[in-house]
Amino acid sequence: MKKNDSLKDMRIILYYTGNILVGVALLNIIPLLTALIERDAASAADFTLSLGATLTLGAALSLLGNNGERAGWKHGMVTVAFSWIVAMVAAALPHWLSGHFGSYLDCVFDVMSGFTTTGLTLVQDLDHVSDSLNMWRHLITFVGGQGIVVLALALFVGEAGGGYGFYVGEGKDERLFPSVLHTAKAIWRISLLYLVLGTLAMWIVCISIGLNTGRGFLHALWIFMSSWSTGGFAPMSQNMLYYHSRLFELVTFIFFIIGSFNFALHAAVLKGERKELLRNLETMSFGTTMSLLSFFTAWGLVRLHVYPNLVALIGKGFYQLASAHTTTGLMTIYPQQFATEWGDTALLAVIIAMMFGGSACSTAGGFKGLRVGILFKALVQDTRRLLGTSKSIVIQKYHYHGERTLGEQQVRSAALVVLMYMGIFAMGTLAGCMAGYPFLLSVFESASATGNVGLTVGLSSPSMPAFLKIVYIFNMWAGRLEFMAILASMGFVASLFRGGRRARA
């Protein structure tokens, strides 16, 4: 009986994973078209191969799992965690076929970094990579930002349904509309609106800084995808430094700041509720921590005379900090310069910014402004309790799309998520130290991977030990899905074993 139940569960999970994989397969069409337009037969063959293989695997899984059952909350959670792993392996095929990666593990690392909008990369000789592979890498980051499961829901689910588990599993717990399907579609509408406007703006900038029309368009599209989804990939190995343009950097700055905002906030502002922007707990939290950390970064950099003037201090110091805080990972300096020039104070400020991260229900990572804000409000509440008379009940309010009262359950779940973040961050740091890297650099790289940032001090390279690559892949995955889906999957796997034992007994 028990065994039958878990078999049923497994088939439901396979069915949905298969369908999500079909969605990933169809994404191959975009780089395939890029290759065809550029008459690049070799890349076109690679993407057709990837399209076919992923489609076959997806179709096979959904056939295997097809049993006519509907998915519940638990299935949604486990499907998300599982499908992210399967999608990672499948989407790495074009990377591998391109010959620009040292091993399949490196390919998988790059894809997970893309899907989680991290931006760490193990690609080799990026400056000679085909346009279609760059299209694929940036598309992965763009889709990953909105959520691959959210994409599949928006693409395939015809009728209005629930499926809240799928949605929450992907780290987005804000419902813009009562139905998840509507919400998924709204998220995609917002992103596509910005994609069109942003690419156009960026294209003009690209042409003005000396790129030709064709390459200007591609770079505009890719850099927009990368900044908006707070990703951090770039088509050239020097990242933002390649363009040598303050204007270019300013425009990316605007995109990744907007991209790090909550989709619910976007929806509110698009509806005309502009005041929300200034009163929202999340934006307040972001503004406060950003100001404080800017001060510390400037302090550290000025004391060591790192930059010759104010323009450089803002373009390098503030840009890197903002890129860290929004968990983007675009860089206007070389990775080594963090280690050799910045000094401990500025480096520490960037590390803290990477841990805090952007907004909940956005494309950003980290433990999110909302949680930082909630924990701060809880601290205020407890202090007021301590100071007040024992009989009075202290009610703490905060503004988040309307006035809300701070509840114990919110504080508890915020604290737990932050605690788990700290846990895997510590694990990543330990792994870095075990691999022989200096302490501060290990802290930095682990914070970057866990918070889905992508800034690097140079640890993430093809030559780093395989176990460290695996630890970072895990941290990116767990950090992006915010643990719930992963805990649910662990529970599910444990129940499978228990079920198996009971059936045998």
Partner: protein
């Protein structure tokens, strides 16, 4: 008498010092006139503080784009996986013909110029300002051939994937919407 002796000795010492200073200055001027030391780009980036403000030579493949800015231009040079931006005059930039991209190798270029760890004129960028450039080797285009095996496999897999997908579709109809949350 001892006063004169020590005065002569001090005079001799001073003369020697002056001669030494002149000799080193002359030596320095000579190395400056000749080709200054060529430094690998990776080493420049890794030890930027050491080389800051120095006149030196780098070599690398011109990659990507030649980005015109007024009567100057930027080009990035790549050597052993690390690239650096070089600030050129229009005239210098016009010597570059091939840029390294997918399927292309760019011109191999030698640049003599001033290295900046954090350039005050360019927003703190780590860069080189070229005094002179020389083309060491012209780049070339090569076509990347498609592998026939991959082509055949890809077509086969697409047909297979599509067939099983449409078979699955025929069995189950449209993807079922998941249940509303049951908690």
């Amino acid at each position: 008498m001892p006063g004169l002796k020590s005065w002569i000795r001090r005079g001799m010492e001073m003369l020697l010092c002056v001669a030494l200073v002149f000799a080193t200055a002359a030596q320095a001027a000579r190395t400056e006139g000749d080709a200054p030391p060529s430094v690998p780009i990776a080493q420049l980036v890794a030890r930027a503080k050491e080389y800051d403000g120095k006149i030196l030579t780098v070599e690398g493949e011109a990659i990507g784009d030649l980005m015109k800015r007024g009567n100057h231009a930027w080009v990035n040079l790549l050597e052993d996986g690390v690239a650096i931006g070089v600030w050129l005059t229009e005239e210098q930039a016009s010597q570059i013909h091939e840029l390294g991209r997918y399927g292309n190798s760019g011109d191999l270029i030698q640049v003599r110029g001033t290295f900046h760890r954090a350039c005050p004129d360019h927003g703190g960028d780590l860069d080189m300002h070229a005094a002179a450039i020389q083309i060491l080797r012209r780049g070339s285009k090569k076509t990347v051939e498609a592998k026939p095996g991959r082509l055949a496999a890809s077509i086969g897999l697409c047909i297979l994937g599509d067939c099983s997908r449409s078979y699955g579709g025929a069995v189950s109809g449209k993807l079922r919407a998941p249940d509303p949350p049951g908690i």
